[in-house]
Symmetry: C2
Subunit: 162 residues, 2 copies
DNA sequence: ATGGCTGCAAATAGTTTGCAATGAG
DNA sequence: CTCATTGCAAACTATTTGCAGCCAT
């Protein structure tokens, strides 16, 4: 049932809570949001549909552009608010890779990143690909909340690649 | 020649290239700058004097505040320009720890960081305290330019600290 | 005189916030 | 009806840029 959107162009808003997810292995978006205590509104679902479609990294700007290209009607403020909401509820993970922009990772599982400093591209590094044989103990009264590992890459001088 | 102190005549900069460093163990600042191909101007030396005084992390804002408190006359633009210049020449290292601000680390030696997510405090983690027993090979044609490791800390529930 | 560096302020970029309007229950 | 959510624009914060003046050469 197409949640009646405000008298908006009918062809644009056709997301109902599961139409985007019917064929996927993951639980429907609405449920995933609900599981994190997030009310499934139309724009939240659209945002989730784009960002949570696959493990990926997106900036607010990218996400907004994508939404607009898809014909979704979501304001910039809502994109930011929603991303922050998702992040605060643990649905997505904010990344600090480049100081100028905020990135959000739809993959909240532990993992690390390659960062191509030339292109800015971010690539996942699976947990088993990294192994710490030693880590410092956290200071008194502190505990480790997470480990962010970013391996910066640059183009190899030449022929050094493999 | 005594370096200008707070409340100083509007026009003149009386820092000469080494007045700030005569007693330190490191090579004079002017030489350090020169070694990185940076011309030692008055404000660059003042900025370097503050930031390079010890291994530490500072934001542009902090640095500017400190300079002003010290009575140095350096504009915000110059602080940013200088930090970027220093960073591009490898004199300091930019850090991406929190997406909202750029941090600069006066310690360019390889090392890692603790980041207290509550207070925002940054603490160094020495290289020998971390050991990787496995790291992924960089993709074809790429080489590792650096590794940024940030261990996020939060206050332990209680009594879990030691 | 020349060229590099600086200060200032305006311009950008990214993100947050205030508030009225809107829609779901 | 009521409340949460949204959109818009203005407000903010962090950073960069344009340009004229100054300094050392």
């Amino acid at each position: 049932m197409p949640a009646g959107r405000p008298g908006h162009p009918p062809h644009l808003q056709r997301i109902s809570r599961d139409s985007y997810n019917g064929a996927m292995t993951q639980p429907p978006l609405a449920e995933r949001l609900a599981a994190h205590g997030i009310q499934p509104t139309a724009q939240r679902l659209r945002i989730a549909a784009v960002l949570l479609a696959a493990p990926q990294h997106m900036s607010a700007e990218q996400l907004l552009a994508r939404l607009e290209a898809d014909g979704a009607r979501v304001s910039k403020a809502t994109v930011y608010n929603t991303l922050n909401l998702f992040a605060s509820r643990g649905l997505i993970r904010p990344l600090s890779v480049d100081g100028t922009r905020a990135w959000f990772d739809s993959n909240v599982e532990a993992h690390y990143h390659f960062h191509d400093v030339d292109s800015g591209a971010l690539t996942d590094v699976a947990v088993p690909d990294v192994e710490f044989s030693r880590l410092p103990p956290p200071p008194e009264g502190m505990e480790v909340a997470g480990i962010d590992l970013v391996i910066r890459l640059r183009r190899a001088p030449r022929g050094t690649g493999a």
